[in-house]
Subunit: 245 residues, 2 copies
């Protein structure tokens, strides 16, 4: 990779995959091991999950830019103030990243999962894509790790697979779950009760699995029927498998 020079650098949006360092791609591994500047999102006061995934392979003396999400827990997602706070935050991140690459240095932005699949990096990408060089490295999604963890294939033949988020309404979840062969439900966390109701109503409760921390050292898999928690960890995914016809 280029180092400080008169040319503009490149922003690499690097998918890290589901959270195990050896499930990163060979390309991501190579880019990170040879980089001089990394950036990553994290909650304030936390080490940052993306940063932790790669900690053992980072070069010595790598420069780091932690993009700390603003505290928004007291602002509802629907409040216009929420959007405003997040917009300023992403604008500031872009300003900072741009200043780094304008000095001629490349930046690797570490992205959990696949950068273009429900990722925070997309907010950076959409702001800067027409202005500066950006390369995106796809990755293994958390959902691939989750269905692999259940030890049951997800889709056969012409099965339809629907990807949903637990933030949808119970009715929407029910409508979609009752008209698909296979489903993946992301962003489970506090939405577990609502998702469980929708799955039960669609008479798929016997089929569902929940996976906590797929592909990480604390991975846990069980049937949803046997899962007694009322709130699941943030890194949880619910899987409804398709069937061979």
């Amino acid at each position: 990779m280029k180092n400080v020079s008169s040319e503009i650098g490149t922003i690499y949006g690097i998918g890290l995959g589901p959270g195990s360092v050896d499930l990163m791609s060979v390309r991501a591994d190579r880019l990170i091991k040879s980089c001089s500047f990394i950036a990553f999102f994290r909650k304030a006061g936390r080490p940052g999950h993306a940063r932790q995934i790669v900690s053992e392979i980072l070069p010595e003396n790598v420069k780091e830019y932690a993009m700390e999400y603003p505290t928004t827990t007291e602002i509802p997602l629907t409040d216009p103030r929420y959007k405003k706070v997040m917009t300023s935050f992403y604008d500031e991140c872009c300003w900072h990243l741009k200043s780094v690459i304008e000095s001629g240095e490349d930046v690797c932005v570490l992205c959990e999962g696949d950068p273009f699949f429900y990722g925070s990096f997309m907010h950076i990408y959409e702001r800067l894509r027409l202005e500066v060089p950006i390369e995106v490295v796809p990755a293994i999604t958390g959902m691939s790790a989750a269905w692999t963890a259940t030890r049951v294939p997800i889709t056969w033949g012409d099965n339809i697979l629907t990807i949903l988020t637990g933030t949808l309404s119970e009715k929407k979840l029910f409508d979609k779950i009752s008209t698909t062969d296979a489903a993946v439900i992301m962003k489970v966390g506090q939405n577990l009760g609502k998702i469980r109701n929708a799955i039960t109503l669609a008479e798929r409760e016997g089929d569902a699995f929940i996976v906590e921390f797929a592909a990480m050292s604390n991975q846990f898999v069980c049937r949803l029927l046997d899962y007694t928690k009322e709130v699941a960890p943030y890194f949880s995914i619910i899987i409804l498998h398709g069937k061979a016809k």
Copy 2:
């Protein structure tokens, strides 16, 4: 990995990802570089796409088992004879793979894409999973490579993503495309006309992209509106992106 010994070996179902050798995972790369026996599916008379992806990293003197799909072009998919021919074929593959691991050797089964996502390996897995040690390594899906190739993120916020195959009926494709935020349509090939009709009917023709050979050296991306072929190559994926709300 174990070599010939008195213990039973392990079957590794290794996802190779979308087709670029450096988009394989570090784990897949390590397992393949140290293996003594590989197996892979291919059409009779062809080198085999999975085999080609890894050709530059295979150890010298690796033993190979090509699982050649039986010629079924003259039997319709709905004909019971088709199922019978494929069942015997997968049974034979399993018998052979089992004999290898019973000699104490591990086998790496090379799988295009992610093994549990519309993969032929699933037929091996389902037959042997309760009998012998099998480990599955997830991978970057062809669809992740395809949406990355379009240079537009696929899903934002609570976007619903529906994965469809071109083998579905035009009506089913229309129903699903007209009620989702984002869609991926796999298995395009000869089904292009039908898919195009469904997308047009759903008034999404301005949004759609087609990607041939995502992440491979001959990758080609364009808007579906600008795509003039009547039949697409087998490795083609159609993408309808979600939008930030």
